[in-house]
């Protein structure tokens, strides 16, 4: 896992069970050994956006969240990313400024007149 053992690193994992005393440290390493590693968790989280993961995998991820707030945030942020991406088409005027040339507009209008009269 790395998260639990490497508490000497500059940024500590601010998770629910961050290993404050000996018991919590024990619990963290117990969970770390029995749930997928972070690198695998983030892969699974992306996959869970496409297919429903098996129940045991989902439970393991939930338990993993107890010791790793980063993976928890990652999961939340993937959901946010999906919401953002699907809303881009309606906000496209905020990020793009290209305009349809006047001649093209006239050509399209002509095509619409023809379609209408079909």
């Amino acid at each position: 896992m790395g998260n639990a053992e490497k508490s000497s690193s500059s940024a500590e994992n601010p998770s629910l069970l961050a290993g404050r005393n000996w018991f919590e440290r024990l619990l963290v390493s117990f969970i770390a050994k029995r749930t997928p590693k972070c690198r695998e968790v983030v892969r699974l989280l992306s996959q869970s956006m496409e297919v429903k993961l098996p129940l045991t995998t989902r439970i393991k991820i939930r338990i993993h969240y107890l010791i790793c707030v980063w993976c928890y945030r990652y999961g939340q942020q993937l959901q946010a990313l999906r919401k953002i991406a699907s809303s881009l088409p309606e906000h496209v005027d905020n990020c793009c400024s290209e305009t349809l040339p006047h001649s093209s507009k006239e050509r399209i209008k002509q095509a619409l007149r023809e379609t209408r009269n079909e």
């Binding site: 945030r73 942020q77 881009l88 905020n94």
Partner: protein, 214 residues
């Protein structure tokens, strides 16, 4: 002369008929929504002439199917959904194979992110501290998001946007782009990872000051 008036008369009649039945003038769509549709199309297909064709196809299809438009959604989102279908069709017809060199684009960054399969402590995801809805109301956010999208390798961006913007089913994307499901998952995973990272660096940690006026 007679035939000409006859023709004119027929045109008038058909105009009145369709105008009366639909109550709209499709030519106004070009002025009202043309730029918006064009921007979205251009973002997706990158070539102006292709984007223009897609806008035209979209509006022509809208004229033909206007009767089915219930007015449940706004005119713009209705036109947008037709365009989405046209974009999907475009990629289906393109049928290009995704080059796998693109998949290597994140290998280096990925290895930095993790140490012994766990997060590198200094590079773990930050708390974004923001409601997605609030975020999406801010015009500058969309510029950042677009910049992040444009940093993805073209093929990877195509796959991500087909999935998340056109909301195409994964099986259909695999079929259209001739890639396996596993490869699709890998591409999506890496695209998400790169976008998340880019947003965090360029928006959440470097957020432009909130304007007091809202």
């Amino acid at each position: 002369m007679i035939s000409l008036t006859g023709m004119r008369h027929r045109q008038e009649v058909s105009k009145v008929a369709s105008g009366a039945s639909t109550g709209v003038n499709p030519e106004c769509w070009v002025d009202d929504h043309g730029d918006c549709l064009y921007r979205y199309a251009l973002l997706r297909v990158r070539r102006p002439e292709v984007a223009e064709d897609l806008v035209q196809e979209t509006l022509c299809a809208a004229v033909r199917t206007y009767g089915k438009f219930q007015g449940k959604s706004s005119e713009r989102s209705w036109l947008c959904s037709i365009l989405k279908n046209k974009i999907c069709d475009y990629f289906r017809k393109l049928g290009r194979e995704t080059s796998f060199t693109d998949l290597e684009f994140l290998n280096d960054e990925m290895s930095q992110k993790f140490i012994d399969q766990g997060w590198n402590h200094d590079l773990g995801p930050a708390d974004w501290k923001a409601e997605t809805e609030v975020l999406m109301d801010r015009a500058e956010f969309w510029e950042t998001f677009r910049d992040c999208l444009s940093k993805l390798p073209a093929r990877v961006g195509d796959v991500f946007m087909l999935r998340e913007m056109e909301e195409m089913e994964t099986a259909q994307i695999c079929q259209a782009l001739r890639i396996s499901q596993n490869n699709l998952w890998v591409i999506l995973h890496r695209a998400r990872m790169a976008l998340r990272e880019c947003l965090e660096l360029n928006w959440f940690e470097n957020k432009p000051k909130l304007r007091t006026d809202g």
